[in-house]
């Protein structure tokens, strides 16, 4: 079960990274660590895409992974811009202290 490395091994690893990243998004208060957890989730998706790309011997999965990385870059840039604007206005980086829309 452990020794010949199959596609299933990569899927299990990807699921583990996805769950860890989701826990980071849901449970942490620091906005930076929430953003980093989103990067973890996107990486888990990429592992999945590459595993299937390798499995079928085609490169379509790798092209998709490139698009995922592009979206991750855009998301990180805009997210960090929002964090800077937020810190300037509210002087906090704790996600649960920013509750203007809560009642």
């Amino acid at each position: 079960m452990l020794y010949p490395i199959t596609t299933i091994h990569y899927l299990v690893l990807s699921a583990a990274l996805l769950l860890i990243g989701t826990l980071g998004v849901l449970a942490r208060r620091n906005i930076f660590i929430i953003l980093m957890s989103i990067e973890l989730i996107l990486n888990a998706v990429n592992i999945n895409l590459i595993a299937f790309s390798h499995h079928y011997g085609q490169v379509h999965g790798q092209v998709f992974a490139i698009f995922v990385i592009t979206v991750a870059v855009a998301e990180a840039a805009v997210g960090l811009g929002i964090v800077i604007a937020l810190f300037r206005n509210k002087e906090t980086v704790q996600a649960d202290e920013i509750d203007l829309l809560k009642w």
Binding site: V12, L23, R29, N43, I50, V63, V83, Q94
Partner: protein
């Protein structure tokens, strides 16, 4: 045998780095552990014969995104944030939901592994075009329109982040 050894080394790097990323108090330490995790994932790309993505992962993720993170962490003073409570009040609900989803995924992987009948892995063609060439061929022919849309997305992200980080918005 050798690739199994490397798989477990890189998988350990990726998972341990991820766990430490979401548990550290200091955001800078978390960023460092995330770099370790990303390096592990890059090694897994190399094991899967995705050499181009291996390079992209290191140059773009570690050299680009993580440097951006570290710069912004430096910009925003976080000294008091590491002394506050690190997890929010609903962390146990999050953990319970996560265990449920994990059990679901484990169940599907366990039943799917036998019943899905994945076709046997395709054999690698020796002496064919390299990985970068193959990716470029597909990217610039079949995925040309998504490629152009991605460039528009990046332009929007550049303008948006400059706008948001300005002194007065």
């Amino acid at each position: 045998m050798m690739d199994a050894f490397f798989f477990y080394v890189f998988a350990l790097l990726a998972v341990a780095g991820a766990v430490l990323t979401i548990t550290r108090r200091s955001a800078v330490h978390a960023a460092m552990w995330l770099i370790v995790s990303l390096l592990g994932v890059a090694g897994l790309y190399l094991l899967q014969k995705a050499e181009f993505l291996f390079a992209v992962q290191i140059v773009l993720y570690i050299g680009g995104i993580m440097m951006l993170f570290l710069f912004v962490i430096m910009l925003v003073n976080l000294d008091e944030a590491s002394r506050l409570r690190q997890f929010n009040k609903q962390w146990w609900i999050a953990l319970a939901a996560l265990i449920a989803v994990g059990a679901e995924i484990a169940f599907f992987l366990k039943t799917g592994a036998g019943s899905l009948k994945l076709p046997p892995p395709a054999a690698a063609v020796a002496g064919g075009p390299g990985n970068t060439e193959l990716v470029a061929d597909v990217l610039f022919s079949e995925y040309l329109l998504p490629f152009e849309v991605a460039s528009v997305l990046l332009l929007v992200a550049i303008v948006g982040s400059v706008m948001l980080a300005k002194k007065r918005i």
